[in-house]
Each structure stands twice: as C-alpha cells, then as structure tokens.
Amino acid sequence: MDLAFTPEELAFREEVRGWIREHLDPALAAKVLGGLRLSKDDIQGWARTLGRQGWLAYRWPRAFGGPGWSVVQQHLFDEALAEAGAPPILPFGPVMVAPVIMAFGTPEQQRRFLPGIASGEVWWCQGYSEPGSGSDLASLRTRAERDGDHYIVNGQKTWTTLAQHADWIFCLVRTSTEGKPQTGISFLLIDMTSPGITVRPIRLLDGEYEVNEVWFDNVRVPVDNLIGEENKGWTYAKYLLSHERANIADVNRAKRELKRLKRLAQQCGVWDDLRLRDAIALLEVDIVALEMLVLRVLAAERSGKPALDIAALLKIRGSEIQQRLSELMMLVGGPLTLPYLEPALEGRWEGPYPGGDSALAPLAPRYFNLRKTTIYGGSNEVQRNIVAQTLLG
C-alpha cells in the first residue's frame, strides 16, 4: 500500500506539464479557468495541437497510434490538462467511437476513421438519445433499411452534443423489430454532410447551444459504415458504456474548480466567512474522497486485478460534486452574479462590469448548465439502479 506515484510517473507528469505550458495559449487557458464559453475553434484548435503531438488519443494503445501510456500516466496527463486550463477533449471521437472501431471495426474502417480522430481533424458526435428514449435507450426508433449497398436512415435523434459542428455521427439505429428491443439495433457511422440530415441546435437554460436535434430523412449510408454485425449494435454500445471508468468522475476538473472556488471566495471577501468556508471545506473533503476512490480504481486497473465495479458510484459522486462546486461559486458571488451579459460569458466584455468583476458573469449560467450532469450519460437515478442491482440483484 502506497499513496505516492513512482519517480517515473512524477517525471512523466513534469514532462507533460512542461509541454502543455509551451503549447497552450495563455489567453485560451484563462478562458477555461474563468469558466467562459469556448468557441468551436478554441476546442478544435487545441485538439489539433494535441493531435500533432500524438496526445489527443492519449488513452489509445500503441497499435492504433496512441502513446501506450499506463492508466496512471493517462490520469496524470488528464490532471495536467485540467490544472493548466486546457479546453476539454471531446470524448465522442477518441474516447467513445474509437474504442468501438478498434474492437469491432474492420481493418479498413480502422484505417479510414482512426487517424482523423487521433489528429483532431474530424469532429464526431453521438446519435443515441431520441425524443421517446432517454433512460430507456433500447426503445429507440430511428430505422435503417437496407437498400443494396446502402442503408436508408429515417428518424430523429436528440440531445446530440455539439452536432452543429460535427463532421460525423455514430448512431444506434433500428435494423429489425423482431425479438427484444435490444436485439434489432445496429451501430452505424454517418457522414453529417449526407443529404437529408437536418440539425437544429437547442437553446439551453443558460443560453448556450450545446445540444441539437438531428433529423434523418431518407439519408443514404453506405453499408461499409456499419460497425460489426447488423443487429449487434447494442453489444457494442454496452462495450462503449463500460469502457469509460475512472475519468467519468472528472475529479481533476473538480480539483481545478475547487481552487477556482477558493480564489473567488478570496476575491469576494468571504474567505473568512466561517459559514461559506465550512461549506467549501466540506466540499474539499468530498473531492479528496472522490480522488481516493478514483485512485483505487486506477491502481486496481494497473495491477491487472479485476477492476473495482464502481463506475456508477464515480458518475454519481462526480456529477454531484460538479454541481455543488458551481452552486457554491454562485453563492459566493452573491447578487452580483445576477446580470446576464452574454459578451462577458465569452470574454468579450468591455467597459465597467456591474459590480466591477466580470469573473462573476459565468457563475450563475454555469450553475444552471451543470444541472445536466446528473441527467446525461445515464441519469443518476439510473446509476443508482445499477449500484442497487449489483448489491441486491
């Protein structure tokens, strides 16, 4: 039993920290650290920078062009990115569709799709949810009918994150209505420039356009874009869901945001207010406990022993902590978080800001926005069902 990283791991961390310092634009980092809205270019520019270094696909094995890092190295890299204020790496390409392509795609599909993901050139989005199927994913109705070398896709997806920028979408589609709902689902990759696709961004409660409705109207998709076997898509989707583990807790970002909360408390003159301070202290304990939980999972993975089956716990706790962080930031900011000034949310505010500190501008919108974290990716209610199922059957 040991809490320390090895000297090699620590040296690795210093190396990646140094590289990030050299390559991350301080203005961009300031946007991230200040909780400002990021543009498509902010996100993709940084993805390309990482891609050029071979680090965008930092969880991939060497065989597919990844750096072949250990799970601990991956964690340390993620920590270094988070603490430096690097824009988030969108998971849809490198973390979600890529492992499925690696595991179930043909060599041809792997050659065709993986390089664009690893380089950050191709923007992917995820077509799972539908208006009628949220937690009950298997009830999805978007259908793909075979027509020669193509599937004809018709239906509607929703909550499709950043689809408005996407080049490709990976979709669960219904190819059969026989048997259980799960058995007739296929996993299809679709070019977003295909005729018949309509994307409508949905305005969220914080004013951002982060998710979309995506309609498919007789969209022709080459059968070459089918992953694995027809009607086996549910298996691949489950593989994908089980693939993400420790990172689901997002603890490195929580640590960074805790520091930000503490800075804000100092700025707002409440660092010595015992009540708010205790609330922050309690959250600090929560975050340390979450990090220990994550480190236990990593260590178990590294030692090759059966991994702790607590991904659902990480999702629940991580999301609740993110929400609480944003809630406390807003409370620390107080009534001066109430002005809703869009330019300030994008770092474009000029002139005096109400109350003098435009750092308060993103606090309430972020609090609003993060309500999503206990809803998406399998709501926390679904996660609690999973935990209970493991224990109680």
């Binding site: 009830s139 609003f368 609690r384």
Partner: protein, 371 residues
C-alpha cells in the same frame, strides 16, 4: 388564528389569475425577456388592474389594501413568472407611508397609484447581502440641496423607472433618498438578469435627491423584510406551478413502457417537493403575518422565513429540472425558467446562509410560533 382568505381577497386573486392566464402566457413572457425583460404594456395592464397602487391609501388614489392582499397578488403573479417588478411598487408605497413626511406622501403616493414605476436601488459592490455596507454618499451641494454619488447594481427594471429609492450615507448616517429620472447626474444602464427580467446599474454622479427619511437603517430593514414577505408569496406561486408541471410530466412521460411517475424513487422525490412547497407556503403566511410586529421580532421571523424559502426554492427548482431530464435543461420548456426564477429569488434580499446567520445570532431560549 385564521388562514382563510376573505371573499374580497379571493376575488382579487381570481382577477389577477384571470389576467395572468389570458394576458401573460409563456409566449408573451418569452418575447418580453428576449426584448430586454420589461414591458411597459404589461405595466399599464397591471396598472389598469390597480396593482401598483394596491397598498397605496385610497386617499392617495390607491386601493388601500394590506400585506395579505399583496401576498395573494404576488402568489398569483409568481405562478405566471411575472418579469415586471411589481413588488417594488409595494415596497415604495409602504416605506413612504412608514417613513416619509405627509407632504412627501401626498406628492409621491399618487404617482405610485397612477402606475409610475419606483424601485429600490440598494445592491452595491463588495457588500453581497449586507445592505448596511453602503458606499453611496449624499453630499450638500452648497445650495441647500443634496446630491448623491455612487453606483447601485441589479436595480429591477432600473432603466425603466420613473424614480428610485436610494440608500446613501449622509453626514455619517444611512438615509433613504428619492431620485427622479431625468435629473442631471443620473444614468441607468440596463441589462437582462438571469431569470429574463430586467436589471440596471444606477450611476449617481451628483444626482439631486430628496430625503425620504434620515432613519435609513430602519427603512432599509423594513424594505428587506417586506421584500422577503412579497418574495415568499411569489416563490410559493412559482413552486406551485413547478410542482404541477413536474407532476404532469411524470404522468405523461413514458420510459420502459410505463409513465415515469410509477417509479418509486421519483415518486418520493415528488413527495419531498410537496413537503418543501407546503413548508414554504406556511412560512410565506408567517412572513406576511409577522410584518406588523416590532422590529426585533419581525426581523427574526422574516429571517426564519427566508431560510425556509431558500431551502424550498433550491430543492423544488433542482428536483423539477432533474425529474424532467433533458427537457428540463432547455430554454424552450417552461420548467427551466421556473428554476432560474427560484434561483434568482434565493439570491434576492439575502440568501439562505445570510439569513441563517441572522436567525442564529438572534436565537433566544424560546421556540416556536406561539410562545
């Protein structure tokens, strides 16, 4: 002990509800929010209903009604998610009646009753919820008048107001002042607030001001307490609607072939929302009925009320969004607007921790509503 509304109060409520249902549907509210957050047409309609003059004495052209009637009205308007700051009309009316000279009342109260918008401008930088940390100054102008210097923030519909009630320190004492729109040295810079309503910075750079009262601390204490009472009523209206929306959604939305309202974990969450709503409603009554008490008891009671309301608003708002799932975080559906409204009300007139500190500091050996 009686918590029934009189027939007159019920008629008033019905009239306001009728207006809200016909005159203030969600689509109109959305259009107003998009256009900036304050609509003069709506304000005229509220004036036609007599609402800005609700608590103005009949002698001054108002309806001469009291805090219970104000509660009834604000609960109904809360359910409509009204953007326009009607509460401030009542705050102005009551603070003038309590603190202004008869002459000043004769000059100003009829204007309130006639629908001129007068709002309190008391939020300052570096003060958070401490209204007594006032940096705005009132200085003699050497010609027998007084001029104000300072900046106030988050003033409700502040750039649409005909006049502002402004706390400012004069000769070392916090006093309350009346500042007229259009006077030199007055500038209001409007902006939208989180819930879609309108706010403004009020910049006072030698603005001529008329004294309302030298007892600024007492007047502000009243304004905050009366503001909490109105806010509580409004919040109950918002929460009532929020719970109804949630119940309706759970009965309608199906997953796994059944309405999600059949899942026990969600059902218990709804039960807890109902609990928070009824506790909040109880404390909204308490807040209103305690407004007439002497200052220490009133402050204690209103602080208690805000602590309950703050907790209830947070729980009901957050759970409503959660139980709605994805649709709950969109701007398109009404429930997120309820949530944002509740959040904004939580941060208004002192947040939960602020008032918990008040309850804690004022705690005595005693306990309960009735001794």
């Amino acid at each position: 002990m009686d918590f029934d509304f009189s027939d007159e109060q019920l008629q008033l409520r019905d009239a306001v509800q009728r207006w809200a249902e016909r005159g203030y549907p969600f689509e109109r509210r959305r259009a107003i929010a998009t256009a900036g957050g304050f609509d003069a047409g709506v304000w005229r309609e509220l004036t036609d209903l007599g609402l800005p003059g609700l608590t103005v004495p009949e002698a001054h052209g108002g309806m001469g009604l009291g805090p219970v009637e104000a509660m009834v009205v604000h609960e109904a308007l809360g359910a409509a998610l009204l953007l326009e700051p009607l509460a401030h009309a009542h705050l102005a009316s009551t603070v003038l009646q309590r603190h202004a000279s008869a002459a000043a009342q004769a000059a100003w109260l009829p204007r309130l009753a006639a629908g001129e918008l007068v709002v309190l401008a008391h939020v300052e930088a570096q003060a958070r919820h401490r209204w007594d940390r006032c940096h705005t100054e009132a200085r003699h102008d050497g010609q027998g008048g007084v001029r104000l210097y300072g900046v106030k923030h988050v003033v409700p519909a502040g750039d649409h107001a005909a006049a502002w009630l402004v706390p400012a320190v004069h000769e070392g004492t916090l006093a309350l002042w009346w500042v007229e729109r259009g006077a030199p040295g007055v500038r209001a810079q409007g902006y939208p607030l989180q819930d879609g309503s309108r706010g403004a910075d009020l910049m006072l750079d030698g603005a001529p001001a008329t004294l309302v009262t030298r007892a600024g601390e007492a007047a502000l204490a009243w304004l905050v307490d009366a503001g909490i009472a109105l806010l509580s009523a409004e919040a109950v209206g918002v929460m009532d609607r929020t719970l109804a929306l949630t119940v309706d959604y759970l009965q309608t939305r199906k997953q796994f072939g059944v309405p999600i309202g059949s899942f026990q974990a969600l059902r218990h969450r709804v039960a807890d929302m109902k609990m928070q709503l009824e506790l909040a409603r109880s404390m909204a009554y308490y807040a209103t009925l305690k407004l007439g008490e002497p200052e220490p008891q009133r402050r204690q009671a209103l602080a208690r009320a805000k602590v309950q309301l703050g907790q209830s608003m947070r729980y009901v708002g957050q759970q409503a969004v959660q139980l709605h799932g994805g649709i709950g975080v969109t701007d398109e559906y009404v429930v997120s607007h309820c949530f944002k409204r509740l959040t904004q009300l939580e941060l208004t007139f002192g947040d939960t921790l602020h008032h918990l500190a008040e309850v804690s500091a004022r705690m005595t050996d005693d306990a309960g509503v009735t001794a």
